[in-house]
């Protein structure tokens, strides 16, 4: 298992000028980068980040689009993987932070979480490249090659859960911009 913060630090070294949708890694990624090409949306509605990443990748084919999704979101909207594979955006890199639990609601287990092969699901849906990682060393070793090859690539990473037991209304807000500003900042940066 990896710590999400460590995984993101490794990725940051290879980020280049990619658009990064930080998803479930948002609270750590914001300490590494918070530019107009960073898209910390929080959680508009579960299950949708993969679709948002696809839409952005299709709209901006000349830019790499990197998403840090979660296994809970993937399970809620597995059909998105078929749509993504059909559209086959070569600029889309779909990372999944798999902590095996619903951390936001107190750490309850995701059904059958220890037995699901997410890379296998993605591959079966048509992703040309998919892999599972459970340790930082292998992930760091392979990451440059993953990002050099065209996507869509699906990279599932086992990470330690960071369970939140504080009531939602009492949690420390880590985002510095609201979602509307995040989207409008991105559109401005893309010349829209």
């Amino acid at each position: 298992m990896m710590h999400t913060a460590d995984l993101l630090k490794v990725f940051a070294e290879h980020r280049g000028d990619a658009i990064v949708i930080s998803g479930r890694g948002g609270r750590h990624w914001i300490n590494l980068s918070d530019t107009v090409l960073d898209v910390p949306l929080g959680d508009p509605a579960m299950g949708g980040h993969a679709g948002f990443g696809l839409g952005l990748a299709l709209a901006q084919p000349n830019r790499r689009v990197v998403l840090f999704d979660s296994e809970g979101d993937i399970l809620m909207s597995m059909g998105q993987l078929a749509t993504i594979a059909e559209q086959a955006p070569a600029n889309f890199y779909h990372f999944v932070l798999d902590n095996e639990v619903y951390a936001t609601t107190g750490g309850q287990p995701v059904p059958n979480s220890k037995n699901i092969d997410y890379a296998g699901i993605a591959r079966s849906c048509g992703y040309p490249r998919a892999a599972n990682y459970a340790d930082l060393e292998s992930f760091g070793r392979d990451l440059p090659a993953i990002l050099r090859q065209p996507g869509p690539a699906f990279i599932s990473c086992k990470v330690w859960p960071e369970v939140e037991n504080t009531p939602i209304g009492q949690r420390v807000r880590w985002r510095k911009r609201n979602s509307d500003k995040v989207v409008q900042d991105l559109r401005g940066a893309l010349g829209q």
């Binding site: 898209v39 949306l41 959680d43 508009p44 509605a45 579960m46 299950g47 949708g48 980040h49 993969a50 679709g51 948002f52 990443g53 696809l54 839409g55 952005l56 990748a57 299709l58 709209a59 901006q60 909207s77 059909g79 998105q80 078929a82 749509t83 059909e86 559209q87 979602s179 509307d180 989207v183 991105l186 559109r187 893309l190 010349g191 829209q192």
Partner: protein
């Protein structure tokens, strides 16, 4: 004088899409879209993104909009209702100015409605405070442009209800 034909033709819908500069159709087939699909598929300037569940269209549309495209969603009323939280979070929450063209399965102007999909469609839209326009034939086509204009002005999703099932879009 406005066209009062009894049907809504797929050509009319295509003209409205083109005149409103739609770039992408994010869709899941329904009872309305039969022949319209063939027209859309043959247009090299339109990208079709097929989804497996209607709620997925909301987040994909949000991403396309964030990246500078002008998508339109094409789904059935049943799927729209299934998508409630996605509409809330990805379209309304992110202020995405999108038109959803929604097949109004079960709608009838005459007699008594027997399909609960139709019974709850407008109630759903009113509960979400989503503006909507009913289009039943070619004479109503301008309402589609009105929907696009309202979406742009308000930066909110606007629905066009297609009340011409198994008729206008089919031949």
């Amino acid at each position: 004088m406005a066209d009062q034909s009894a049907a809504l033709s797929p050509e009319t819908v295509m003209r409205q899409m083109k005149s409103n500069r739609v770039t992408d159709i994010v869709w899941l087939p329904d009872s309305e879209t039969n022949w319209l699909f063939l027209l859309m598929q043959s247009d090299p300037d339109l990208r079709l993104v097929g989804v497996t569940r209607e709620g997925h269209a909301c987040s994909i549309t949000a991403g396309l909009y964030a990246g500078g495209r002008k998508p339109m969603i094409l789904i059935q009323n049943t799927g729209m209702m299934e998508s409630g939280d996605s509409i809330r979070g990805w379209l309304m929450g992110l202020n995405v100015p999108v038109v959803l063209m929604v097949g109004y399965r079960g709608y009838t102007r005459h007699g008594v409605n027997s399909d609960t999909a139709a019974t709850y469609t407008e109630r759903f839209l009113m509960a979400f405070n989503i503006s909507f326009y009913l289009v039943e034939n070619d004479g109503d086509a301008d309402r589609i442009t009105t929907a696009f204009q309202e979406a742009e002005k308000t930066r909110k999703p606007v629905v066009v209800l297609v009340g011409d099932e198994y008729h206008g879009f089919n031949r």
